[in-house]
Every structure is written in structure tokens, then in C-alpha cells.
């Protein structure tokens, strides 16, 4: 049991274990294939006191970022449904161990499993063999009979912050920190730079990927390297706030991700792509209990789970106003990613007049012109 864990978990665990022992006694076995005639269990209503909801987090819930935001969602579920049981595992590795952990969730009687990051085959292999359990994968791609995905359409917030970046940078070079060259990282980098270029087309972006979502040391080194290369505005997708501290030390500006991080460095803080999964998780669990849950892919959109955080004290009034004007337009239905958009090899990716869908952006695997460090 972690020291920093939320209060009241003890009670949950004990009660849950008793429930678990019952499930074990009733001879729960894996795999159990539902025949066509059978209806999966999640189609039927479920009593709150019988429900077990499991969460697999990619980092520690004390990471101050991504996993913490999801853990807030877990707490929201507990507040909304005090009689159900939640279980979670932190720092689920990207290896076959992930499969084992998800299988163990099922073995312990979970009716619904959330992977709060993309685990791909590791979760799909489990969900295929446990058709009675509802699976949701954050940043996933698969929709099967009992597996869906959800993600935040964060690129709108990134675009708004990009406008502020474009107005505030002196050197015209933005620094971007990412984990791996994957679609959400491309989407974030692209949207931020497009936002900046919308106010100053000559702005460029240097990106570094550090092969980890949570590695404060590597992030600090990468941010220092970006600062050394003349980037005066840092942004990115990391699960923790290390590069904000570098920005403070070097007198730069920084925009963050996951949640408001003003306290970590008010003088450098511009804003953050602020995420809130509370309502989403509560509604998913409500659907499950009601027997109305459906496996599908879902985006949390601007104003509904993702938004820019309140502007930091160092952001000039005029900048904030110009960026927020765009926010108002997007909330009214405007999509700022209309072609022509070229990638950083000069290839035309979005023809003139075409507006890519959220799903297209979600599957980005190229970087826009002006980005270096992402192929």
C-alpha cells in the first residue's frame, strides 16, 4: 500500500477482497468464450455494490501529470458510486506484464477495465478472451465486441496555446518534448506549431523524443538541450513537469500538458493543455451499471474534458485575448486545420480547402513543415 494513496482505500480493499474471495470460490476461469447466443454480461444491469472497476495506469499516480489526472477520475467514480469497488495498478510496463496485469484484473472479478494509456495488443489479447468484461483503452485504436477507446482531442487546446507561443517567442524557435514519435505526439507538435505559425509563419519547432512518458531526468536534459539551441518557448507531452523547471532556470516560457502547473514555476508558466476525465469515467461506469455501455471510440472535446488552463501571470493581456478569441471560435465549431498543410519533407499532406477530421488528426504520423526532430 502506497503511503501517498488516497484515504479510504483500506476499506475498499478489504471489502473488495471479500468479494474477490467469493468470485474465486465460484470458479472463475479464463478464458471463457461467450457463445453467440449468450449476451455479454455488460449488457445486463449491474448492482453498484457488485461492481469492480479496474484501472491500469502507465505511471505512478503521484506523477503530477497524466496518471494523477486519471487517478482524479478514479476518485470521482468513487465519490459518485461509493458502494462499488475500484482497483488500480500503477506503472504498468509496456511488456507482456501488461497482459498479465489486465488478466489479473479479470481474474479478480472486474467487470470494467480501463487502460489509461495505449497498451495495444496487450489489452486486446486479454479483452478477446474475456468477452464478459468491458474494456476501454485511452489513446487506443481498436473497437471490438467489448473493447473501445477514448482520447482527448487535445490539438485544439494545443493550437490555442500555439497562438500564444507564436506571439511570445523572441527567437522564433519553439522547443517540444515528446515521449515517442507516435500520433498523439505528432498531433500535439503539429497543432502547437500551426497555431504559432498562424500569427508568424516563420516560426519553427525543434522536437526531442526521450523514449519515456515519465523520466524527469531525461526530460530535464532534453529541455536544457533545447534551451541551448535557442528555443525560448518549451512545450510538449510529458507526464510530469520537469521541463517547466528548466524554463524557470533559463528564463524561458513554457506551456504544459495534463493539468494546471502554475505552482511549479509561475514566472515561466504560460498555460497547459488541461485534462479532466472525471465526467467521462463517471458516465462510463453509469452506463455499465445500467447495462447500456457500448464499445466505441470517443473523443473528449474542447470544453468537455480538455481545455487550456488559465493563463499564467506573465502572459500579456493582448496575447491572452488573441488566443482566447480563437478558443471562442473553435467552441463555436471552427476547425483551424484547413489545408494546404505540408509536412516537413515538403510533401502536401492536407490539400487546400480540405479539413481533416479528428480521427485523421488522431492518426497523424507526420510532422508539419517547420518541425525538426520528428520524421
Amino acid at each position: 500500500m502506497t503511503v501517498s494513496g488516497p484515504r479510504g482505500r483500506l476499506l475498499t480493499t478489504r471489502r473488495g477482497l471479500l468479494g474477490m474471495a467469493g468470485a474465486a470460490g465460484s470458479g472463475l476461469l479464463l478464458p471463457r468464450h461467450a457463445t453467440a447466443a449468450d449476451q455479454p454480461a455488460w449488457r445486463r444491469p449491474l448492482a453498484e455494490s457488485d461492481a469492480v472497476i479496474a484501472f491500469g495506469h502507465t505511471g505512478p499516480i503521484t506523477d503530477g501529470g497524466w496518471s494523477m489526472v486519471h487517478d482524479r477520475g478514479v476518485q470521482a467514480v468513487r465519490r459518485a458510486f461509493p458502494r462499488l469497488r475500484t482497483i488500480y495498478v500503477e506503472s504498468v510496463p509496456y511488456s507482456a506484464d501488461a497482459t498479465r496485469i489486465f488478466r489479473q484484473f479479470v481474474a479478480e472479478g472486474a467487470q470494467m477495465v480501463f487502460a489509461t494509456s495505449e497498451y495495444g495488443d496487450f489489452i486486446k489479447d486479454v479483452s478477446d478472451r474475456a468477452p464478459d468484461v468491458a474494456f476501454m483503452e485511452c489513446d487506443g485504436n481498436n473497437v471490438t465486441g467489448n473493447l473501445g477507446w477514448y482520447y482527448v482531442a487535445h490539438w485544439y487546446a494545443s493550437y490555442i496555446i500555439g497562438i500564444a507561443a507564436g506571439l511570445m517567442t523572441r527567437t522564433g524557435k519553439l522547443g517540444f518534448l515528446g515521449s515517442f514519435p507516435i500520433p498523439s505526439v505528432y498531433a500535439s507538435a503539429n497543432a502547437t506549431l500551426l497555431g504559432a505559425q498562424s500569427v508568424n509563419p516563420s516560426i519553427t519547432m525543434q522536437a526531442i523524443t526521450i523514449n519515456a512518458w515519465f523520466d524527469p531526468q531525461a526530460a530535464t536534459q532534453a529541455a536544457t538541450a533545447l534551451a541551448d539551441n535557442g528555443c525560448d518557448f518549451l512545450c510538449g507531452i510529458m507526464d510530469e513537469p520537469a521541463y517547466l523547471r528548466v524554463a524557470v532556470q533559463r528564463g524561458l516560457k513554457a506551456a504544459m500538458w495534463n493539468t494546471g502547473m502554475l505552482n511549479y514555476g509561475p514566472e515561466a508558466y504560460v498555460s497547459s493543455v488541461s485534462l479532466d476525465f472525471n465526467d467521462f469515467y463517471v458516465s462510463q461506469v453509469r452506463d455499465l451499471l445500467a447495462g447500456t455501455w457500448q464499445p466505441q471510440g470517443r473523443f473528449l472535446t474542447l470544453g468537455h474534458g480538455v481545455d487550456r488552463d488559465a493563463w499564467g501571470p506573465s502572459v500579456p493581456e493582448s496575447v491572452a485575448r488573441q488566443a482566447d478569441d480563437m478558443r471562442t471560435r473553435i467552441l463555436a465549431g471552427y476547425v483551424p486545420f484547413t489545408g494546404p498543410i505540408h509536412d516537413n519533407h515538403g510533401q502536401l499532406r492536407v490539400p487546400a480547402g480540405v479539413t481533416p477530421s479528428d480521427l485523421d488528426i488522431y492518426h497523424s504520423d507526420w510532422a508539419v513543415a517547420g518541425v525538426s526532430g520528428l520524421e
Partner: protein
Amino acid sequence: MATRAFQRLPTAPAGRILMLRLVAIILSLFIIACVLALSGHSPLMLAELIIHSTLGSRFGLEDLALFMCPLLLTGAAVTVCGTIGLWNIGAEGQFYAGAIAATGVALGVHGSALTVLPLMTIAGIVGGMAWITVPTLARAYAGVNEIITTLLLNFIASLLTYYLTTGPWRDRISGAQVSTQRISVSIPEMWGIVHWGFPVAIVIVIGLALVLSRTRWGYEIRIGGANPEAARYAGIPVRLRIISVMLLSGGLAGLAGMFEVAGTVHRLQGGMANNFGYLGIVVAVLARGSCLNVIPAALLMALILDSGIVMQTQQLSASVILAITGLILFMIAIGDELAHYRPLARTTPQGTAAGSKVS
């Protein structure tokens, strides 16, 4: 004259070691239970859950077998190298190299599983061998310590995997992070999620035990490991034997990587080695140099690891699990050491005995 109450023997009987290991495990479980009880968990319920989720259910047994498969091979890789007195700390890197080579074949060769799987197997073995080639030659011809060279290559192999899975080989189909696309062939499943790699690994370990005890090559390896000077005295080409053993060791670890790619993960993925290479060292230490012992040692290790996963779902953090794993292994190590001691009866002064004998 100071008299000691215990005497340390150079060898300890296997039965004694087994007994002391059991005592060590029971003792550490007791300590863990006390700590868990103090922190508000119910040790009995946890124990019941763990037993159910490992040995007590088909689901648990499947997981154990899947865990054992790579551990058997990396444990055998380290053990076989240890037979000639060398430490292959690089099974992790050779695992990756085998996985990379096998994935390369799977991505590049299109055909039925019957043609692709054997090619992947060969590629995996050769990949692992290639990864240990430089440490092998450095050891055999320049006497460079293999512990350091094999260890350092682990990091290179791991980073190479990250490079490939985020760069040239990254998944452009489903966009899975740090991963190649799903490969089209897989080792057939035998029992639930357990693939045929598991029985093959068992057969390989038994085969290795036979090779070491029943072939001329194995005999020469054993002599070379027990006393290189005696091996030279007997005219055994020690250098050639070192080369062959280290390559075999690398090949085994590479095969483990291939099995993991083709049987469990179905992709090349950054971090997929899951420390199996390093855990192979633990397995080899538990096996005390005997290939056959690798099987129960891998089972014990799999049990510990699998229990760790069960406990994580009971909100014990990963670092607590790591501490528990360390405690069990530490107690076993103490047990092994204590097995060498036996109480010493007070003897008569040696002088009078020896004096009377000679005069």
C-alpha cells in the same frame, strides 16, 4: 586456542540446500505477512488470492508457464556460460538482438508460418549469437572481462530496439507506440495462452543438461570451468570451448527473444525484454549451476513475479513488490550460505593426536 562452533564446508549437500531454502522462503513469507498485516492488509486473504491466481487455477498456471518460457531460456543461457566459469550478464541484450532479428525476418519475409517461423527461429538464435560475438572474442583472445562487455551491450541493444520501433520499423498501421506492426505469424498456442515455445524451452533445457553430462564437449566444458589449468593440462582447447559456450549462451537468450516476439508479444516492442535477461542470472544462481535445476528455479522465479503482479492489483505499489522480491531472494541466498555450515563438535587438541600418530 580459539574454538569455533561451526565449520564451513566447500560443498553443501543438495538436500540441505533445499531444506534451508524452504526455511528461508517460509521465513520471508512470515516477515512479509507481518509487514502487510501492520499496514492494514489481510495476509491470509492475499495468500489465498495469490495461490488462486498462480498455482490454484488454470488461468494462473497459464500465466506461470508463459512467465517461465523466457526465464527457462535466459536461465539456461547464464547457466551454460557459468559451466565454463564465465558470467553472461548480457542475456538481456542478446534477448533483444534475437527479438530484433526474428522480427526483421517476420517483417521482411512473407509466407506461411511453416516457412517463416523456422526462419525466425534461426534469425533469433543467430541474432543472440551475433550480440555476444564481440565479448566472446574479446574474452577468448584478449582476456577482456566478459561481465562488463556483455552488460554494456545490453544498453545498446535496448536503445537499438527503441530506435527501430520508433523509427524505421515503427507501426504505421495502428500507430501503436514504441512498437512494430503486429507480425503475421505466431507460435501456435498449445494450452490457453501458453504457446508451444514453453514445451520447447523445457526440452531445450533438458537437452542441454544431457549435452553437458553426456557429451565429450560437455565434459570438456565442465573441466574448463572447474579448473582451466587442468583443462590445459589435459589438452582441452579451452579458448575454442569458451567461444562455443558463449555463442551457445547468446543463442539461447536470442531464442528467448524470438519466442517472446512470436509467442507472446507478437511485435518488437521497446522494453519487451522485461528484465528477463537479468532475471536469467537470478534463475541461474538459484539453479546453482545445474541445467536441470533451471526448471524449478524458473518456476520459483515465475511464481515470485506472478505473485508480484497479483499483489499490485491489491494496491501494493511496484516498489513494495520489488522490495518483497528482493527480500525472498536475499533470504534464499542466506539459506544457501548457511547450508555450507555444520556444527563442529569440540575436538581433542590436535597436537596430541598427531604427535602420537607419528612418534
